[in-house]
């Protein structure tokens, strides 16, 4: 993984020192809240429903064991013993005191971490496939490009005061696990069929929030070395035309929509032609690309057999282990290894939460079994990317008693939920209790397996941090005359077949929404064809069967 050079180290230390001074001035009353707010937000510090909240950047979701231990220490020393992993592959601490935040940032800097690019109208922390570099289906490793984008975008003077926040996601696999089509810019790495050269499909104007849109491809194939000048051209067109008079119309998706895909593309290409990055600032040399890529060189894998007899025997002997292997491990690009997905969704638990003991255990397990590396997923789970097949049973035996072995990854219990009104000052309804209630209702793992792949995503407000628009089943909590009401959408997807869910009908009260999900699932099970997934069924059958099942008995 990437290690700070002297510049990175000095930059983060200096930034922390500046913020310590700003906090001191605020506490002395020398800065008003109006003056201080943009400063704290640029350092990831929000004021939420119950307290301040510090959002810490985890660049493209990659953590070392050492960093995870430091997060555990911070959780215990300055917070309330836990952290919340987010749909942006970051971590949030929900209870820090303002006076302690400079010390927390110092502790983060000690392990090459910070909270920059986690708030404000800048290019936010770049996200990617949690299996980057190890996925069996990967075309190219997106991590070096994510790191390049991190270095390029961090405090970029031209792009630090954009019309609105700006999110970039990168995938290096044909199966999109990074939701690139619902980002301001999505980059899909692929190879030119004619030459075999790797490059990017550039997708612009996707997003969720109150105006969800699927991104549009404005360049089918962009050579790797043109990435920064081309993205600069996009950002300049956005900076030039993006609306600053109305925050609800300020995202680039609105600009792409209003200009039209053709005109937007023309403007970007014209800007790119004007400044194709041949000057020394943006010229990407092979040497620089190689320098960054070396940080992501594969760990020293052993030459292993495709199968491991002891592992196979354990799978045969233990139904629980077999179930976990089936749900929570994935094929690794290197023979004899597996990718392990650690579920942060125990039955009835809070999606994405991990306490300090769990964080420390994961750090230990990462060092023992996975070359010391951990990934954070936008599904609010964690990944140990490099585990030998022969170690899976021992690993599972340690995860299971710590509440980290729930075998539900990709199944109904693997619910995304934003913090909702239990924590968030923007929320209009709670989302976590709904996730917990659904999780408990469907706690039978064999039943979840029978239902098959089903992604439920819950947001507590229209800002859609819980990605409800792209949930196979999406749930949006709203306030209706002082009561929580939940709108249900069906048929969304964040993958390569990205689609936005459609509202099935009138919303449900908190008490009724779990029964509604039960009805939806029963309708699917009753009417699906052989091998048909929930998503495929909703796309084939539409809303009609669900409407009939949900509302047929309703009066009027």
């Amino acid at each position: 993984m990437y290690r700070y050079d002297e510049f990175d180290e000095a930059f983060v230390r200096e930034r922390t020192r500046q913020f310590r001074n700003q906090v001191a001035r605020r506490l002395r009353g020398e800065l008003s809240e109006e003056e201080f707010r943009p400063l704290r937000l640029m350092n990831g510090l929000y004021l939420q429903l119950h307290a301040y909240m510090l959002r810490v950047a985890i660049p493209y979701g990659v953590l070392s064991a050492r960093q995870m231990r430091q997060l555990a220490m911070i959780a215990e020393r300055w917070d309330k013993g836990y952290g919340h992993f987010t749909t942006r592959q970051n971590i949030q601490f929900n209870w820090p005191a303002l006076k302690d935040v400079p010390d927390i940032l110092d502790a983060l800097a000690d392990v090459e971490m910070h909270a920059i690019q986690t708030s404000g109208n800048c290019i936010r922390n770049v996200t990617t496939d949690q299996w980057a570099g190890v996925a069996a289906d990967e075309v190219a490793d997106p991590r070096p490009w994510c790191e390049l984008l991190r270095q390029w975008s961090s405090l970029h003077p031209e792009f630090s005061f954009l019309p609105r926040k700006f999110k970039i996601a990168v995938t290096g696999s044909p199966h999109d696990r990074a939701a690139v089509k619902v980002h301001d810019i999505g980059l899909r790495m692929h190879r030119d069929p004619a030459t075999g050269e790797a490059g990017f499909e550039v997708i612009v104007g996707g997003g969720q929030g109150r105006t969800p849109m699927i991104g549009k491809t404005i360049r089918g194939f962009l050579p790797l070395h043109q990435l920064l000048p081309y993205l600069s051209a996009i950002m300049r067109v956005y900076n030039r035309h993006g609306r600053r008079d109305n925050k609800y119309k300020a995202r680039i998706k609105i600009l792409v929509h209003e200009l039209g895909q053709g005109e937007f593309t023309r403007e970007v290409e014209a800007e790119f032609a004007r400044d194709p990055g041949t000057d020394e600032v943006y010229a990407l040399t092979e040497a620089e690309i190689s320098r960054i890529a070396r940080h992501f060189a594969p760990p020293p894998y052993e030459r292993l057999a495709e199968r491991h007899p002891r592992h196979d025997a354990r799978v045969f002997a233990s139904q629980d282990f077999a179930r976990w292997v089936r749900s929570n491990t994935a094929r690794h690009k290197v023979q004899g290894y597996a990718i392990v997905n650690v579920s942060l969704k125990p039955t009835g638990g809070i999606p994405g939460d991990a306490d300090a003991a769990q964080m420390r255990l994961l750090a230990d397990l990462a060092e023992r079994y996975s070359h010391g590396e951990i990934r954070v997923t936008h599904h609010q789970n964690l990944v140990l990317p490099d585990v030998r097949l022969g170690d899976l049973f021992a690993l599972w035996e340690e995860l299971e008693p710590a509440g980290l072995g729930t075998p539900n990854v990709g199944l109904l219990g693997d619910i995304i939920a934003c913090p909702g009104m239990d924590y968030c000052s923007l929320a209009t309804a709670r989302s976590i209790p709904i996730a917990q209630a659904i999780s408990r209702r469907f706690q039978d793992l064999d039943r979840q397996r029978e239902i098959g792949p089903l992604e439920i995503k819950i947001s507590g407000c229209i800002n859609a941090c819980g990605h409800h628009h792209v949930g196979h089943i999406g749930i949006l909590g709203v306030d209706k005359q002082g009561r929580e009401l939940y709108q249900v959408t069906l048929g969304g997807s964040a993958a390569e077949d990205a689609s936005l869910g459609s509202i099935v009908g009138p919303g449900f009260s908190a008490d009724a929404v779990v029964d509604a999900i039960e009805t939806i699932v029963a309708t699917y099970l009753d009417q699906r064809q052989d091998g048909e997934t929930f998503l495929a069924f909703t796309h084939r059958a539409g809303l009609k069967p669900f409407k009939e099942a949900l509302y047929a008995a309703a009066p009027g």
């Binding site: 506490l27 209870w95 809070i350 009104m421």
Partner: protein, 97 residues
């Protein structure tokens, strides 16, 4: 008009606080209830004053109903804010009740 109380977050640690007779307090039961326009205006003035001296941030008024146990917010958002996350009864103000 509905009865109202003043609430905010404490500057130093973000704790939810309520304006009581002798200053800002952490328990909603001890909040001063404004029942008339003039009392509401007085609450608002005190709130703005506390913001100006950087004691609190993001202050505002909350509609409450008066119960035997003290003022109770009308809206569930403020109920949550006055007690803590409903999914973590061990945290927030509810933890010490």
């Amino acid at each position: 008009m509905s009865s109202q109380i003043a609430t905010a977050n404490r500057l130093t640690d973000g704790e939810v606080v309520f304006l009581g007779p002798a200053g800002w307090v952490t328990r909603i039961e001890r909040a001063t209830v404004a029942r008339s326009d003039s009392e509401v205006r007085a609450l608002q003035a005190l709130l703005r004053q506390a913001e100006a001296v950087n004691e609190i941030v993001d202050g505002y008024l909350v509609a409450v109903e008066e119960t035997a146990a003290g003022p109770r917010p009308v809206h569930y958002r403020e109920l949550l804010r006055g007690s803590g996350p409903s999914v973590r009864p061990d945290l927030g103000k509810q933890a010490s009740r």
